[in-house]
């Protein structure tokens, strides 16, 4: 057992950083004004919101007026897809996305299908990469939106967003990217990337849960998500989540300033963990692209064992991770991402995601490399499946 919990589930959520919390605290009790109030308490709050908007814009290479605060990644994805395609309904009703998007995108696209839209779900290769050529070929005269994630939350593969953006731009099709996993992990420039809309979520980079933003390029037509007051240029009504917005601004500024060091440090830890696992455990495969992947993401499939059992054994050893097995997804099928990269069901059931973060140390990584082989050996000893016996009754 370790003396501390080794949290390797940073792709699920991160701890709010002390510096971020400190920046937020005065906005609960001291500067608690409503940013829409015209008195001085309200004006203080307004200034804080606009400062955060600048911080988010600077992190993305955007203009502050192009940043709209939301309640997180899911809301941003819903808004972008539902309301931008609706605003373009006169042009057509075709949307292009990929098979490995987060459910916030996939389920929204399924909803659009019920609304009479046609959706093309592009396949990915064995590394989880979307083909730029496929995107190009899928574009039709009635295509109104392309939505491809910047980086995958399960297998960590980083998509060729700039190249897809170029194709979309040349065809004059609106381009949205779910960058929830990419912000704070890879450099982003909305102009260089040619994206028209970009979703982000604070809790993935040490801001609190329930705060996020949607970047909407100036000139993009999008309808209201929430009707009411004039907040967020009248497009997203509701009194602002003031402390959350302040935290989002502080966290994104810190994340971007530390990005080079974060990338260098986490990439080294990630590769140490990948190599350590692959070297010490037989019949394990890495899921996702070997190099074109998020600095903190490790995802492996361990043959002949089931992911939830693996997770719980790791939890008992003080290591917190996640899995794409059916048992953890709450459905009968393993993760759609693992199936999309071509894994058979029984191998997908044995997947394990270890997502490293700011607090991960080399000692933590070495502890996992030391513990995991024994846990796998144990579970394999009691497994009905093995190299000799992979029967399918």
């Amino acid at each position: 057992m370790t003396d501390h919990i080794i949290y390797m589930d940073n792709a699920a959520t991160t701890a709010t950083r002390p510096e971020v919390l400190e920046a937020m605290l005065p906005y609960f009790t001291q500067h608690y004004g409503n940013p829409s109030s015209i008195h001085s308490v309200g004006r203080d709050a307004r200034r804080a919101v606009e400062k955060a908007r600048q911080q988010v814009a600077a992190a993305l290479g955007a203009q502050p007026r192009e940043i709209y605060f939301t309640a997180g990644g899911s809301e941003s994805d819903n808004w972008a897809i539902r309301c931008a395609s609706r605003a373009l309904a006169a042009k057509g009703k075709h949307i292009i996305t990929s098979q490995i998007e987060h459910h916030a995108v996939l389920h929204t696209c399924q909803y659009m299908e019920k609304q009479g839209y046609e959706v093309t779900y592009l396949p990915v290769d064995e590394n989880g990469l979307v083909s730029v050529e496929d995107v190009k070929k899928a574009i039709r005269p009635d295509t109104v939106l392309i939505s491809i994630m910047a980086a995958n939350n399960e297998i960590g593969t980083i998509e060729p967003i700039r190249e897809i953006g170029k194709v979309a731009h040349e065809a004059g099709v609106l381009f949205h990217t779910d960058a929830v996993q990419a912000v704070g992990a890879v450099p982003i420039d909305v102009n260089d990337w040619n994206v028209d809309m970009l979703s982000l979520s604070g809790h993935k980079f040490h801001a609190p849960k329930g705060i996020g933003a949607l970047y909407i390029r100036k000139g993009v037509k999008i309808s209201n998500l929430i009707f009411g007051g004039a907040q967020e240029r009248g497009l997203r009504a509701g009194t602002e989540n003031l402390p959350g917005i302040v935290g989002l601004g502080a966290a994104i500024e810190l994340a971007v300033s530390e990005l080079p060091e974060y990338t260098r440090r986490l990439t080294a830890l990630r590769d140490r963990l990948i190599d350590g696992i692959l070297k010490n455990i037989p019949d394990v495969r890495l899921n996702g692209h070997r190099t074109q992947r998020l600095p903190g993401n490790v995802n492996v499939s361990v043959r002949y064992v089931e992911g939830e059992a693996l997770l719980m054994r790791l939890d008992l050893a003080g290591v917190e991770a996640s899995s794409g097995s059916a048992c953890t997804s709450g459905s009968l099928d393993p993760s759609h991402v693992l199936l999309a990269i071509g894994l058979p069901h029984e191998i997908a059931h044995g997947s394990l995601r270890l997502s490293l973060g700011n607090d991960t140390t080399e000692a933590d990584v070495d502890y996992v490399i030391e513990k995991l082989p024994g846990i796998v050996r144990d579970l394999r000893e009691m497994s009905a499946l093995s190299a000799e016996n992979s029967f399918q009754p």
């Binding site: 002949y304 064992v305 089931e306 992911g307 939830e308 059992a309 719980m312 008992l316 097995s325 059916a326 048992c327 709450g330 009968l332 393993p334 069901h345 029984e346 059931h349 000893e381 009691m382 497994s383 009905a384 499946l385 992979s390 029967f391 399918q392 009754p393």
Partner: protein, 124 residues
Amino acid sequence: MYSEKVMEHFEHPRNVGEIPDASGTGTVGNAKCGDIMKMDIKVENDVITDVKFKTFGCCAAIATSSMATEMVKGKSIDEALQLTNKAVAEALDGLPPVKMHCSLLAEQAIHAAVEDYQKKHPKE
């Protein structure tokens, strides 16, 4: 989400393994769904004298396998055929609703092993 009893059986499963000269064997489930249970039983004078399991599956699948083997060890084959998934789940202080199918697999695996024994040793 799991009871302490489930976690205890998951951490320290009883009767793991195989019986080389088993009197009967039952295998249920399939890898596609993420659970396979294999049960071996040794029967002497219609009494299950030994039972071992091998399970590919989640926590609940492993814990229900372990509990089911404990519940039938030393019992007659007729008693083993009366084992129900509800009894296995209750003995584990309950299972989350989505995991009840694991207890059903345990029941089916025990029944399949006994039926295999009966097929190999038909009564005159």
